[in-house]
């Protein structure tokens, strides 16, 4: 019986079988021919999460543009499906041709967040592959990782044959073709990996040793052999406006997280928030031109039939002349009843007014992210938001008829005291007052004002100025959460928070090292799956896994010395360690560093290190 027939026996038994059927509009299903190179792209989470992810779609369509490559998709099966697959002996399969993953040449994961690590081991196992790279010879598919968390790939390094560091859209095709060429030459796996490691951006963990000094202290990750590069440079697309962007985008049947047409209008962000990994690792800012954006939007809307289009980037409102772009698009698509949506509103009146003008579908709430409760702490994290900006923005939002505001904060930031926590309460209450005032004075009907305060726990990430910062202990986190719970009780206020154990574990992995692979394996063997999903996360499993491997979580979440070697030092994201150190010190002094878009170069070194430059649409890149 072929795989499709065996699936038929179990699909009707699972929740949301639509996750596993494929056959979506714009799916690329090619004939399964022997001479083609087969790539399976995996997202280590549920279908509906993975299908909302732009990066994976980009690579999928780029690879399928090539005649001689077949690229198919696979996602983590939900637990009910996994159990049935194991019972029936059905291996992890691709959605397009329903082929076992072991029939592919390459098995590539896109990695977006740390809490999906056990889904990776689970998917490798479901595919019938040994977990560790060292246990797989050249007869198995090459296991490749890419995506935003590979800037510190060490915790999962042992599972992967290689990582691609940086933006893969320009390098992926040649990597895939090179692999096939080497395989056809009948080279063994070690020879193949050695060859592939020569490609810019490719990191082959097995070609590096972890070095310790005579006191057992970590001293870096060094090449095993001469000729293997010491430092792996992040790859960057140098002309985003000309870069490939798929417009025959694959469309899920299921109501996924972001079910709309998406145009990436710019990449990168120069605001320089010191906690933000994306803000560093997607530099420099590169914008697409208005003409290109509109051409792409026309094509995508025609090819999909979506009635909503989202203009996305890390900070959409910072796009040069965003008002002109957005209004032009709103007018252009008015007759077709297409609405424009703007993710990530900046905290100011301008953003609210623009959103109001173009968003036909009135979302019930607006979200703003002041991140910290006091001006002092907002300066420490370099979030250039003044109190008055926030009050202005929410005033405008309430006046425009929005009655629900979500405010997003973090706790556990460096230098934080209980005064800063009290500042969160104070800000939330003042926002509520502003709303109530507007509601009292308006003549039109308006729902009761609701301010939802969402507070997450700060997790220090590699390649940020806060990569040396220690995390709060569980007790400290709980104390702060308790204070907020007790003080955000007024009618009209609500409070939501994260499980501290989950944040701490994320903190372990975000700055973790190679020893953690064993912990991940242990936790997975004990049943850990979908750890990012509250219903499955079980800290007891993880604690047992750490004990079993004689490692301490606290060693990973503690503060690091500014001069010590870090497990990700061999990766070069383009921003210099010196700049990060300087930023760290500036933060502790409570001083701001301004946006290089406005004030000129602030010395992060990205443009020189990676030989790229800021690309602003009709703007002047202020690089001195």
């Amino acid at each position: 019986m072929n795989l499709a027939d065996r699936l038929e026996k179990i699909l009707y038994k699972v929740k949301n079988p639509v996750r596993y059927i494929g056959n979506e509009w714009n799916m690329v299903k090619k004939d399964w021919a022997e001479d083609k190179i087969k790539v399976a792209l995996a997202f280590p989470d549920l279908y509906e999460i993975g299908m909302s992810h732009l990066g994976l779609k980009l690579l999928y369509h780029i690879l399928n543009e090539e005649e001689d490559i077949i690229c198919e998709r696979t996602y983590a099966p939900w637990v009910d499906m996994e159990n049935l697959m194991r019972e029936e002996g059905i291996p992890l399969f691709s959605l397009e041709n329903k082929k076992a993953i072991s029939d592919f040449d390459i098995f590539g994961f896109t990695l977006q967040y740390e809490m999906s690590y056990t889904n990776i081991t689970n998917m490798l196992d479901l595919a019938g592959l040994p977990l560790y790279s060292k246990d797989r010879d050249e007869s198995y598919p090459l296991v490749v990782g890419g995506g935003s968390i590979v800037y510190n790939p060490e915790p999962i390094a042992a599972f992967f044959d290689l990582f691609f560091i940086g933006e893969a859209e320009e390098g992926i095709v040649s990597l895939v073709k090179k692999y096939r060429e080497l395989k056809d030459k009948k080279l063994n796996k070690e020879e193949i990996l050695l060859e592939l490691s020569q490609i810019p951006g490719v990191y082959v963990p097995s070609l590096y040793d972890v070095v310790y000094d005579n006191k057992g202290r970590f001293k870096g990750i060094k090449p095993k052999y001469k000729g293997v590069k010491e430092e792996i440079r992040r790859q960057v697309v140098s002309n985003l406006d000309q870069a490939y962007y798929p417009t025959k985008i694959i469309m899920p049947y299921m109501d996924v997280v972001h079910d709309r047409a998406v145009i990436e209008i710019a990449r990168g962000c120069t605001r320089g928030c010191r906690f933000c990994a994306a803000g560093i690792s997607y530099r420099p800012v590169r914008e697409r031109s208005k003409e290109t954006i509109i051409r792409l939007a026309d094509e995508i809307l025609q090819n999909t039939g979506y009635d909503e289009i989202s203009l996305t980037s890390l900070s959409t409102m910072d796009y040069s002349d965003v008002a002109d772009l957005v209004k032009t698009m709103a007018r252009r698509y008015e007759d077709d009843k297409i609405s424009i949506s703007l993710p990530s509103l900046r905290v100011d009146r301008f953003s609210v007014n623009l959103a109001r003008e173009v968003q036909r579908v009135r979302k019930t709430g607006l979200t703003f992210a002041p991140e910290a409760g006091t001006q002092r702490l907002r300066d420490v994290i370099n979030k250039g938001v003044q109190e008055v900006d926030l009050f202005d923005a929410v005033q405008a939002a309430f006046e425009e008829g929005w009655s629900t505001i979500k405010l997003y904060f973090m706790i556990g930031l460096p230098t934080e005291t209980m005064d800063d926590i009290a500042g969160i309460v104070d800000l939330a209450k003042r926002v509520l007052r502003i709303g109530e005032e507007v509601r009292r004075n308006t003549t039109r009907p308006m729902k009761k004002i609701q301010v939802n305060v969402s507070v997450s726990t700060f997790v220090p990430k590699a390649f940020t100025p806060f990569q040396w910062v220690g995390m709060d202990s569980r007790e400290e986190i709980e104390k702060k959460q308790k204070f907020l719970k007790e003080n955000l009780t007024e009618r009209g206020l609500s409070f939501s928070w994260n499980n501290p154990d989950l944040s701490l574990l994320e903190g372990v992995f975000s700055r973790g090292d190679r020893r953690l692979a064993r912990v991940i394996e242990s936790a997975w063997r004990k049943g850990a799956r979908f750890d990012g999903w509250g219903e499955f996360f079980d800290i007891d499993i993880w604690e047992a896994a750490f004990i079993e491997n004689q490692l301490e979580q606290s060693d990973y979440i503690q503060a690091r010395d500014l001069e010590e070697d870090l497990p990700w030092d061999h990766i070069n994201v383009g921003v210099s360690k010196k700049f990060l150190q300087k930023e760290y010190k500036t933060a502790l002094a409570g001083k701001l560093t301004e946006d290089c878009r406005q004030v000129g170069c602030t010395g992060c070194a990205i443009c020189f290190d990676l030989d790229v430059k800021m690309e602003l649409y009709r703007g002047d890149a202020n690089v001195n």
């Binding site: 038994k13 056959n23 509009w25 036909r360």
Partner: protein, 235 residues
Amino acid sequence: MVMRMLIRAEFEKTDELRYISHLELMTFFRRAFRRAKLPLVYSKGFNPHILFSMAQPLKVGMTGWKEYFDLTLSQEMDIGEFIDRTNRELPSGIRINKAASIPEKSQALMATINTAAYIFRMTFRNDQEAEEELLNSFLAREEILVRRERVKKGDIEIDIRPMIQQAVILEPGKWLFQVDSSSERNLRPEEISKALVDFHSDLEFIPLNRIVREGLYVRVGDELYSPLDEKIVGR
């Protein structure tokens, strides 16, 4: 005066696409209509939506051979062209087989359809005669009690016998049930499955993926009509 056009279309939902839900299918159709650049009509209001409605939902996992939707267009369009243009935007598994222009005042599909025919692909297989005997004794009972699952109101026991209009053996292992299917009286196919299991130990539970909704009908007296039938539209 703009000449609007109301189209009633008959389509099939088979293969993998059986697994998409009613709401997912509706969203999918709306996007397909937009891709096909049909002259659509939108509702008034802040959040306009396409004037489009469907017949009784088909359960996830079940094949449907004759399913229906109504779509309003802002201008006249050739039916053949409508079918071709729309089918070009549909994946394998969903296909419009027939369509007709119907009077705008026609009753909505949900209100006009009152009968459904289901084909059960049985695991039990004997000769035609033996199967007929089994089916006849199943139908001969005065009442057939089944537990009806209700999400909010709690389960109740119902008698499904009056809702079975007719049942025949098409060929060994293929049983057809013609049953009530309207907003007032609706017999769910899984309830037939349950009743069959309860009735005889040779009969196994037939999951939804082995049931086909052969068609939806309008029953007038003892006659069955297609919702596209001239005698039905315009009523």
